[in-house]
Symmetry: C2
Subunit: 295 residues, 2 copies
């Protein structure tokens, strides 16, 4: 990569899987001059320095942000509001801010409250690059490669702000899509948040029984795949569920109605109804897998 980097100074809040991988990817692409990090613990910040994720640990939020070209907020969602409040008065005119949160309407609401008339500089994002691992040691430069990154631009964003944030995620290897925050949250309630809840529920239901060791002893590859996401981060998923509560409750209720129909079919021994349901599901799942292969 030759020429000046796209971003002379990048500030990252949170150096875990999302923030750490973002920093590594921008560096690998040669698009970040200097990367400064803030984090919750000195331990993870030191590890980030040692791993070459950060050039420097930040101490003064206002000072670092005022001269930043690009800021990523990648902290647990519970810390987002506080960080926005601290950086808002100090944002440079050239600074664009993005985030890596898995829900967007709550982030946008917090941003509107804390960024005030600087809200146009914040372009919300959600990189679709989940992993059951988290933390600075899980960060890697290719986490976002060929993964979708959803931007949910605001009416206040100028085209240059959106373009700058888009280019940052594209430098990380991401495939950028745009949705409204509301669309985003409804879609991800269905295809991500609900499956996580269902998977956690199954493992919990079995784990609380006296014969759990026998049950788990016979669990095989179907169980393994179905429950992989039940090893996800509990605090993060608590926050996602609460943040997207309305859409998730709606999806959960639709799912329970579907389950009730299957229960009725099973109860009355209606093999045709079961097979029709399974058939449509298999066809849709296979079509999806085929489309993914071609992407």
């Amino acid at each position: 990569m030759s020429g000046a980097p796209l971003f002379d100074k990048v500030v990252v809040f949170g150096v875990g899987l999302i923030g750490g991988s973002f920093a590594l990817a921008l560096k690998a692409a040669g698009q970040a001059g200097e990367i400064v990090g803030f984090g919750r613990t000195l331990g993870s910040l030191n590890q980030a320095l040692q791993l070459g994720i950060l050039d420097r640990v930040g101490f003064n939020v206002g000072q670092e942000v005022s001269s930043a070209d690009l800021v990523l907020i990648a902290t647990p969602v519970g810390k987002t509001a506080e960080i926005m409040a601290r950086m808002a008065p100090c944002l440079g005119h050239q600074t664009v801010v993005t985030d890596g949160g898995s829900t967007k309407e709550d982030v946008v609401a917090a941003a509107r409250m804390h960024f005030g008339n600087r809200i146009g500089q914040f372009v919300p994002a959600h990189p679709i690059a989940g992993a059951e691992n988290s933390g600075v040691l899980a960060a890697r430069a290719d986490l976002y490669r060929d993964k979708q990154v959803v931007l949910t631009p605001l009416p206040e964003n100028g085209p240059p702000h959106v373009a700058r944030v888009r280019s940052a995620w594209e430098c990380c290897g991401g495939l950028v899509r745009e949705l409204t925050a509301a669309e985003h949250d409804r879609i991800f309630a269905a295809v991500s948040h609900l499956p996580h809840l269902l998977s956690f529920a199954l493992v919990h239901e079995l784990a609380k029984r006296d014969n759990r060791d026998v049950l788990f002893g016979f669990a095989a590859s179907g169980f393994r795949d179905f429950t992989r996401i039940a090893a996800s981060h509990p605090e993060m998923w608590r926050d996602i569920c609460l943040a997207n509560r309305t859409a998730l409750l709606d999806e959960l209720d639709r799912y329970r109605a579907q389950l009730d129909q299957l229960r009725d079919a099973l109860q009355r021994g209606d093999g045709a109804a079961l097979e029709t349901t399974f058939d449509l599901a298999r066809a849709a799942r296979r079509e999806w897998a085929e489309r993914k292969r071609q992407e």
Copy 2:
């Protein structure tokens, strides 16, 4: 492998994934003299001959079974009763019969009805080697290697019958366990049949919507793993659900109660309850994965 094979003549009913892989594995182990196959379609039988799965296609059930040392019933469960009825009067004194069905109480009930006073020669089995693929082309010699195979011996089985069937599955590479049929069906309702039903239900619920393409377009790796088993064989899973209806309904009701608790927690914004549930699930899932790695 030197010396005479354990089984001079093996007869396989059904040459799909289960039957075909059993035949290939016994051959690879040098433990089958001749393998004769019966099947539903000439096409699959011809493929089985061409792939070296069978030495010969059978035409007369009575004749083939009377001189067989080992018989495997690996047809779709709907055909099991008819095959048992046809072979029962012809079983040789040396013949042991096993099966590959995913449910066991229904198979045992059918066997008691059709084998009559030959029931002692039938040792039910369930190899835990599911795959979303099925059919003769999916068969492979190592399908059962290091996979659990559950035998559910009957009081009428003599120890030599059980030992013969155990050795057959062990020759295929399987790790043989023993349970009663009732224990088996309750355990697999929980760790296999319910997850399949839940996965089918999710994909069906999304696939029937107008915006299915948008939803599936944003589905990522969590969805992929959770729904892998929704690509399973609809007819086979219809039969499994119906055959194990009582235990599956019980598991489904427990799961729905668990889901109702999570829904209530979500509704009232009880983050602590959500996190406690997710936490226990993650710990159990990680412990399970660790145990599997060490096996």
